[in-house]
């Protein structure tokens, strides 16, 4: 299952850092997202872009997770050598992530 089936997301820049907000499509998916979409997994997924570190914050009010990806933009808007200098496309890329198989699908039955 890809992340986009149970979440939507948006990314943007803060200097040389980017953030990705991941929002559960249904409140009942929030706990599952908290369990499966971890700092370690997001850091692994984006390892080719060399983030210095990844930190996760929670927004239970809108059933969302916010990931800060530090120093992932290769210089940021002012001097990145990449076309996506502001990390606009990171969110869509994360939504394509295939969540590892070891999860309990019954946790995903919508009320």
């Amino acid at each position: 299952m890809r992340l986009k089936e149970i979440a939507h997301a948006r990314s943007g820049d803060k200097g040389n850092h980017a953030n990705i907000g991941v929002i559960a499509r249904d409140p009942s998916y929030y706990d599952f997202l908290c369990r499966e979409v971890t700092e370690v997994r997001v850091a692994e997924y984006f390892a080719p872009l060399n983030p210095r570190s990844v930190k996760r914050f929670l927004l239970p009010g809108i059933h969302a997770l916010n990931f800060m990806l530090y120093d992932i933009l290769a210089g940021g808007a002012c001097k990145s050598l990449r076309i996506d200098s502001q990390g606009k496309t990171l969110a869509l890329a994360l939504l394509e992530w295939e969540i590892p198989a070891a999860y309990d699908e019954s946790a995903l039955i919508s009320p």
Partner: protein, 461 residues
């Protein structure tokens, strides 16, 4: 209960030129905000001002005001609040004043809010022991302080609120927290205390949601589809009420959508720790904010919580950091990727032979999966790709020389190289970004309110 409607018609400098006018026409607004300043826009404006002391503001803004003139008078005139002043709010106010006065609108009152620019006192701040440690690394600014070209403090809503209290119809600021463009009108319209943290938090969340224009109303939305009708996307409106309640919406006759989903995406846009969204006005906790669909394209925003404003203000410093340039060519298939890799290798070989070794360089094969290299699987054999080369070096000559490698590939490279139009790519100066903090008492905002005619007559400008 009193309610005000604040619409935002610009999310950055370069946003749609007709959006402010459409929003004024369709939005039934009390206030129109226009947010123009991305992190780096100020440093570009600083460069312009260094060449011409009358420059350094958003030059599109006077024209926008001119088009909005019909809404600026009448029984319930629209008020405009903007950070279009950039590095030069006084000159921006003067230019707007001149334009309005020459159009018979000399009585319109324009305020300039300044004091965010601390660069004029840069040396004395350093002499006083300010080290402007980097917000992320803690590093002292000592190593680059001689390269600094601009330093601006993010001001809060207080200057805007006093300008409006003094009768301003148009408020022009320099660097200001984006959300404060919305908080200022709220503090003017309502009898709220500056320590009513929860109401300040509610207005700040409202400002955060509308500050990026159509990003709240369907633009950039993950679940995009054609039915969103982005061709006539409506720009965002926040309704703020005296009791601190907030509803976000858009003009009825417009495309796009305002749903819990589109608003959620904007709530998380460019935030860090959601429990501490810091502005000069308040420390907001976003983590418990709830969104509720209360009608078509109407979403209520609940439970923003505020804590006392931080003792320091964010300072945005820019410094010279060499030169950067990029250029592109198009390479068609068959075998587009292999041919592009051969082009890159040939360019490097020729640069080495010429003794040119740029400090940083990168080649991307756009269309093959290189926007996020290594994340998206690379295309096997795309019919065509764009080869983009980007160079960063401390000297302009190295960047310009490196970029000259692209064009000769049309005749000396593999077959299928085309698309080099628009002239030779050129280096631009890099101004790097150095975020820091400064104590509040180091900064003194000033508010200058004059009629258009008075701005025009101002001899000091």
């Amino acid at each position: 209960m009193k309610t005000i409607r604040i619409g935002n018609g610009a999310g950055f400098w370069g946003d749609h030129p007709d959006a402010p006018l459409r929003l004024a026409e369709q939005g039934d607004l009390n206030f129109l905000t226009l947010e123009y300043l991305a992190e780096l826009t100020m440093s570009i404006l600083a460069q312009q001002k260094s060449h011409d002391e009358n420059a350094g503001y958003v030059t599109d803004f006077p024209e926008v005001v001119y088009r909005l003139a019909p809404w600026l008078s009448g029984p319930s005139p629209l008020k405009i609040v903007t950070n279009a002043g950039g590095m030069n709010p006084l000159r921006c106010a003067y230019t707007v004043g001149k334009l309005l006065a020459s159009s018979g609108l000399g009585d319109i009152s324009i305020a300039a809010v300044s004091g965010d620019d601390i660069f004029p006192s840069w040396n004395s701040l350093l002499a006083d022991g300010e080290t402007f440690p980097h917000l992320d690394t803690g590093e002292s600014i000592a190593n680059i302080q001689h390269l600094v070209v601009s330093a601006n403090v993010y001001l809060g809503a207080a200057g805007i609120a006093s300008a409006l209290d003094l009768g301003a119809d148009i408020v022009v600021t320099g660097r200001i927290a984006d959300a404060s463009l919305t908080v200022g009108p709220a503090m003017h319209a309502f009898d709220w205390s500056w320590s009513d943290w929860n109401r300040l938090a509610a207005a700040t969340v409202a400002g955060h949601l509308i500050e990026c224009g159509a990003q709240m109303t369907g633009g950039m939305f993950s679940d995009w589809n054609e039915t969103l009708s982005l061709g006539d996307v409506g720009y965002p409106i926040a309704e703020l009420s005296d009791d601190g309640s907030v509803v976000v919406t858009k003009p009825a006759a417009s495309g796009g959508a305002v749903t819990v989903a589109t608003v959620s995406e904007q709530l998380v846009y460019e935030i860090g720790d959601p429990e501490h969204y810091l502005t000069p006005d308040v420390d907001v906790d976003f983590s418990h904010v709830r969104l509720e669909q209360i009608g078509d394209d109407r979403v209520a925003v609940h439970d923003a919580r505020g804590n006392p404003a931080p003792p320091t203000l964010k300072t945005s410093i820019s410094y010279q950091d060499g030169y950067l340039g990029s250029g592109t060519i198009v390479i068609t298939g068959p075998d587009a990727i292999n041919k592009a890799q051969a082009c890159a290798a040939a360019m490097q070989q020729k640069l080495n032979a010429a003794g040119v070794f740029p400090q940083r360089w990168n080649v991307e094969y756009l269309g093959a999966g290189d926007v996020l290299p290594g994340i998206v699987p690379r295309a096997v054999d795309p019919p065509e790709i764009v080869l983009r080369m980007t160079i960063h070096d401390k000297t302009r000559a190295v960047v310009d020389r490196s970029l000259r490698e692209l064009v000769p590939l049309v005749t000396s490279g593999p077959p299928g190289v085309t698309g080099y139009v628009g002239g030779r790519a050129k280096a631009r100066r890099v101004l790097s970004y150095w975020p820091s903090l400064i104590a509040r008492d180091r900064v003194s905002p000033t508010v200058e309110v004059r009629t258009a005619t008075e701005w025009c007559d101002g001899e000091d400008l």
